[in-house]
Amino acid sequence: MTIHPLHRIVAYGAALIIFAGFPTMAQASPSDPADPSRIQYVSDDGPGLGELTAAYQLSLRLAEENPNDFGYPTVRGGRVNLPALTEAAKKLTSGDAGERARAKAALDARPLPRGIAKRTETTPDDLEVMKTLDLSASNSRTFRRAEEQKNAAIDLTLAADPDAKPWMSYIDEHSGKVIVHVETPTPRLMATLAKGIGADSVAVRVQPKPQIDHVSRPSDTPPFYGGARIYTPVGSCSDAFSWHSGSTQMMLTAGHCVPNGGSVSTLDYSMGSVNRSSEESWDTNAGTVFMTGQSTFRGDVAVIRSSYSTAGRMFRGGTSSTSSARVAGMASGRTTSGMKVCSSGASSGEICVWTVTHDRTLVVYSDLTIARNVTNTVERWDGRCVIPGDSGGAMFGVNSDGSVNAHGVISGRMTGPGWCQVIFTDIYDAYYGLPGYLTTG
């Protein structure tokens, strides 16, 4: 058999490229966590949480309030897996309800971790749900480490290869991996993820970056309700819910509406003011920043100290609506995938079509500001979406008696061909990060 000279040249060339051109590929071992070829690609969001929603919400609360004792919760084999990494954490599923209550009380008695202003109360329902959790996985990274990896996935890749357009990251509820949405999975981006996060701890979803916009009722008077028009240093926004700390009356809004603090008004009233840094989480150039003395990112949220009274009610209906509903309380836990929620803002009124797709995500805006620890919802675009001026408005769920539960504060929107997403800050980030409590009606 004879070999054509041209074929020989091609064969030598290929060999040369394989052995000389890609030395790192030749050197990578099959189990090398820095080998970018080991990074998996994902193409969908996976199934929702279904009947495990309550257990997952509780697991997130436990992990968030004790970030070095637990790993990141995942759903596997029909159960919620919450890796218990310390002896104190492992006692939570043992014994009867009394023993679990004592174990939880022991956890709660310890000093608050940095970034948590207060813990949530344990209810009898919590103790029942607790015994259904699988705490056996002990080789997991801590919740705090998982959060660091989620942030690093965007920070590192944006710095290494912005042209790859990484635009969202979050931790998958099923695999526990950090999922990074990118437009182009360039070799440099993949190498950065493998080296910085570990190839087995991260997966990539290739998806075009959607159009992303921040979003901003007409003349509210005291006592102020949520979902109304407010005027802030950057322009027109909305407020979300009434809030209070001791006797101080407050309203929640979006941090990007008051990124340096300052005065806020309604059409006829000087509502109050926001203290820079300690009561808002946004920087115009960077996006989410730590609030003073904190080490956990709290999305895009701020609290307005009101000069007037506020009420545990929220506007419902259209943009000129005067009807309102009683705010019954916070959602029973963090808003997680598959849940149905509504939005209420001054510019688009009430829209009740949203399904949550991801929670605790990082979203990169087109000006490269990053919203950290926010929640995404989506709906096929029927012509309605939140719009500028809804920023700071309310995300809520409706109870059978017509009252509403607070789910979060509108941050922005993402739009693409035929669909629209609302990005919002979970009410639990306001709870954990800000002074005070939701005011109920």
Binding site: S216, G235, N285, L368, P388
Partner: protein
């Protein structure tokens, strides 16, 4: 005879190949030469303080804006400061040239104006604010 038939077909193939190559070159040149971001300048027309609780070193610089919303992260403005005067430069806006990949990080414009953050070296105090381009004084508004 058969040679006479093949010749025009070859010319057609050659012309098509050249057209495809020219199209590819033009596409690559377009992608390479089109800037990903465009820069525009706006002239400041007024300044506004933040009021209670706000950063005393931050002034909002206002300029007319004919769109419903805007993206604060796209805008920046600088100033030269003395003990008596703050001279405000033109407002710089860097935005996506091709909105296909762009998004907007913004708020609804109030009174047809953008409000752009200006960080000063020290609180404004009694200093005068002027427009750098022509030295004309800018009104300083209360929130």
């Amino acid at each position: 005879m058969s040679g006479a038939i093949r010749r025009p077909r070859r010319r057609w193939h050659t012309a098509l190949a050249l057209l495809i190559v020219a199209g590819l070159i033009a596409s690559v040149a377009y992608v390479l030469l089109t800037p990903l971001r465009r820069t525009d300048y706006l002239q400041p027309t007024a300044a506004r303080t933040l009021g209670e609780g706000g950063d005393p070193n931050v002034l909002m610089i206002l300029s007319p804006w004919d769109q419903r919303d805007y993206c604060p992260g796209e805008f920046s403005v600088g100033a030269a400061e003395t003990d008596t005067v703050v001279s405000v430069s033109a407002i710089r806006r860097v935005s996506a040239a091709v909105p296909l990949f762009g998004g907007c990080a913004g708020a609804e414009a109030l009174h047809g104006q953008v409000a752009v953050e200006l960080r000063l070296g020290q609180p404004l105090g009694s200093r005068t604010v002027v427009r750098a381009e022509d030295g004309s004084p800018l009104p300083v508004l209360e929130p």
